[in-house]
Symmetry: C2
Subunit: 356 residues, 2 copies
Amino acid sequence: MAGVFTTNQVQAAPVQLNKITIKNGELQAIIVNSGNANAVTGNIGLEHAKIMQETTAKVLNIDASLVGVASTGIIGQILPIDKVVAGIHQLNIDGDTNGFAHAIMTTDTQEKSITIQSNIGGHLVTMSGVAKGSGMIHPNMATMLGFITTDVSVTSDLLQQALSDDVETSFNQITIDGDTSTNDMVLVMANGLAGNATITTASEDYDHFKTMLHTVTTALAIDIASDGEGATKLLSVTVNNGHSELDARMVAKKVVGSSLVKTAMFGKDPNWGRIIAAIGASDVTINPNIIDIALNDIPVMTAGAPVEFNQEVMSQSLEQKNIAIAINLHNGAAHGQAWGSDLTYEYVKINALYTT
Amino acid sequence: MAGVFTTNQVQAAPVQLNKITIKNGELQAIIVNSGNANAVTGNIGLEHAKIMQETTAKVLNIDASLVGVASTGIIGQILPIDKVVAGIHQLNIDGDTNGFAHAIMTTDTQEKSITIQSNIGGHLVTMSGVAKGSGMIHPNMATMLGFITTDVSVTSDLLQQALSDDVETSFNQITIDGDTSTNDMVLVMANGLAGNATITTASEDYDHFKTMLHTVTTALAIDIASDGEGATKLLSVTVNNGHSELDARMVAKKVVGSSLVKTAMFGKDPNWGRIIAAIGASDVTINPNIIDIALNDIPVMTAGAPVEFNQEVMSQSLEQKNIAIAINLHNGAAHGQAWGSDLTYEYVKINALYTT
């Protein structure tokens, strides 16, 4: 198995516990509660996470060291552990993943899951992922929970490397509100039942596996962005011809994270000045005089100067749910993407009334 | 005179022009238009800024090199220069500062100006400041315009040093939406008419002058934060016992810039979990287990653990316009502050409909 966790210095009890648990490289089950983050709850919080782990292990008749724990919800409230324990004893453990995808939702409006199949070394392999968003989303690690299972045979070390590399271009490239949660994690479990020759080193099979992983993580990441709190739009920012991939990703993330870009898109307003302002405010060195910007394939700025466009065609285009912002930095050959949602009345409403 | 400008790599034409103009260290007038930022407007934009400068110089019968230019408004639209030139010819130049404070407003709801007097070296000295906000406010330089005049006698070099130092704890510590404008600037003009012995070096008089400057800049900065787009609250974050002043300021600014903290305060919701999450997500190394947090002087977290508080008293307290968030890092002796506004329906409305 492999895992990545929030980079927030304030880490929820289940995050702290998992970091110890996964040291042996094996995991067979993950128990998740939603509604209470079990974060900033002191020593009692860590005790509660251990009770969740041990109770689940007992119910499944496996060792506690094989059980991961995740929580999502309000920070700073003591977990009602009696309810959680009672719930674990009532678990349906026949493998109903759809129930799982639904159960972990908080302010999510839609379940997020995907299953793909492919062929590695002549063996049919399957990979499934489930995730939840949908606020406090500014991954690093992604402010979200993601759980991926596969029957591919791969060493834990290589699985960890694949996951750590992958999140840089998938979950870590989504942002809803620029806030980084205390509870983020993505866990991947691979049981090897597909029967392929175990992937132990960088190879064609490893590349193939990484492509599968990227397909799953990117689909889940985009689902999360699309279902951001209060979202009416999915914003997809593509940066081409950057100096480096990191540069391209940073510019894309800065634009998709701008409150002013997000409100403009909610208002179906082609206010591209806010896009170039966000690019200029990023930590990447750019030359504004050579940059091109297009909104849904309609050029709005070329070589740093405004471009006339048909207002009516643009208006119709911005009615769509999916908004594509394309930026050409003309500063190299690297590519990067980021995804997010618009900033809406509903976002404010959801977050102004979250605990009350 | 002295000036500081936006750190955005995309700089509006008037910013580019002023950087050249102020090299001689003298300025006698500033011409400002609102509604159009004259940013990302190419060479024609720079021509327009020069025309504003030259026309104003002609009307005032002074050299063009003594005139500063500022613009604020929508990015990427060509300035209607004929209207601006006609307007300059109709200027009331009898020194009506209140008219000025009003004229430079965009989405500001209130004029922002302050005048203070003090005594330096036995001479009565006066300092006045005028500013406008109120969106795209995440200074560095502050996304705003600020103009300060004084009759203190001080060298340009020392004035520049005082201003550059000062903005780090005043204008650069406010944030409305995390976006950095292309047009920010603060200009200070000192004409020496107070008759004090010219301040030429670090001294008691210089310290006194810096205190005056800080009084003016901080008052204007807080006015801007308080009048942030759609704001119903002024959020004041104080960080005590940080490792360094920079650390304390960074933590304060991270908290006041968190969308989730801002929406919680709009909702009068004491959701302090979002405050500690924002602290943990800052680039400052902290130990969450020793941090205290209080909301309007009511402790909500002590040594990293929740504190019971009277919900009714808290609710009443959060009805106020002014919300004080106090954070004790217990990690040193340094202090820092930051100011901002809540995130409201009205913010979204203003920014979704800005160009249309």
